[in-house]
Symmetry: C2
Subunit: 249 residues, 2 copies
């Protein structure tokens, strides 16, 4: 009997460990590929070796707005760290109930290269939260890209961070975003909108497509495709293909 027949589990462990190592290597080895950036802003920052992405949590945030992008960004192995931040560090309850952990508060959050603001019913509170709006304004001064998913763009808009910019939002609550940013060029039919250092996505699931787009912009097409394939995710690569625009009021 062959060794592999006697120890199928040991063999599998070794095989899987090798596959994991190979997979991580593939992601790490993917060179930035600016030719893939399409209509994105100039990739002036593509050479940056390591980045920190801060995802902003608040009570009643939408789960997939956060963890769809966190899945994608979190798998840019070795080049990008994802941290969760809230007004106060500790556990935060989502709109769907489950609680998660913000490891940093606004007062002790490290420098952030990328910031992502999710949506959810808590948006209605946060657009009137001066601490949130002020913290976002401060972080926007140094961040490479400020992102939002779903109604998170209403918060960025209320902070004045989308004035004069092209942006989008959740389709079923599009008016909520529009009301917060009268000076924003709101795009109704878009899976996401890339306006350089502001990138906003439509509702919930679109955050994953936007995340892969930003990963492609910063780390190249191969890295984004490797991550999408590992997640068995059918990436919607056309920012203008938005079947949900029909829901916009």
């Amino acid at each position: 009997m062959k060794r592999t027949d006697k120890h199928p589990w040991t063999a599998t462990i070794i095989a899987v460990a090798l596959m994991a190592a190979l997979c991580a290597t593939a992601v790490l080895a993917a060179a930035p590929d600016d030719s893939a950036a399409g209509d994105a802003a100039p990739a002036k920052t593509a050479a940056k070796d390591t980045r920190t992405l801060g995802i902003v949590l608040y009570p009643r945030f939408e789960l997939l707005d956060v963890y769809g992008p966190a899945e994608m960004f979190g798998n840019v192995t070795g080049k990008l760290k994802v941290v969760m931040v809230a007004q106060k560090a500790g556990s935060v309850a989502s709109a769907q109930g489950p609680r998660v952990v913000a490891e940093y508060g606004f007062d002790d959050c490290p420098p952030l290269d990328l910031v992502l603001v999710p949506g959810g019913f808590g948006t209605l509170t946060e657009v009137n939260n001066p601490a949130m709006l002020q913290w976002l304004r401060e972080r926007a001064e140094k961040a490479e890209i400020m992102m939002s998913v779903c109604s998170g763009s209403a918060i960025l808009a209320k902070a004045g961070l989308l004035d004069g910019r092209r942006a989008t939002s959740n389709k079923q609550y599009f008016n909520l975003a529009v009301a917060q940013g009268p000076k924003v060029d709101w795009i109704k039919k878009a899976r996401w909108v890339d306006d350089g250092n502001r990138v906003t996505s439509s509702g919930v699931s679109a955050g994953m497509d936007m995340a892969l787009h930003v990963i492609e912009r910063l780390y190249g097409t191969k890295t984004a495709e490797t991550i999408a394939d590992a997640a068995e995710y059918q990436w919607h690569r056309d920012a203008d293909n938005d079947p949900f625009a029909r829901f916009a009021k």
Copy 2:
């Protein structure tokens, strides 16, 4: 000047509150629609008014394996509660880094109608964790449906809970699952596999498609479609359409 011109935000709050109420009502009002169950097992449990879904967390679980389904199940408003459970209550670190909260431990977890086991690199540890395997066996005795996403099926298989059943798993680590369950009828080309009280999905993103399928089976097509549309998610409704099967070793 009209009142709405002077107070656009107040008007928006009222409008959004009304929309939220309408949306929730739509989900609640959707009657179970067994005709939509396709090849699913008989919907003997469709009449159940409230259910609790327990999602099992463990160190190095994959974020989207958990929060993709949690997004979908968590929006079955008023009829389904989602709780997070781990061997010990408290915070649990994901494979991507961010930590989340398990509100229950194995010892104080309430009765569960539905159980979902995610995948992730932690699978390699959990297939050899007697406490996990025993807890799953105990819960399977009373649960309506035991589910898994991604390599979570390797854990269900190791617990013996898929013996003689049709099941699937993450494609890039398919052999890991197969090694844990020699008595399982493993299906390589499937987005998910419904075998009655065992429903398993392929890698990561497929968990959302499986979740919507189970929601359709338990609560009807309209409820599942309303939830998918609210998440702006393009639900892959054909369980056999699996473009990632090409990755299976």
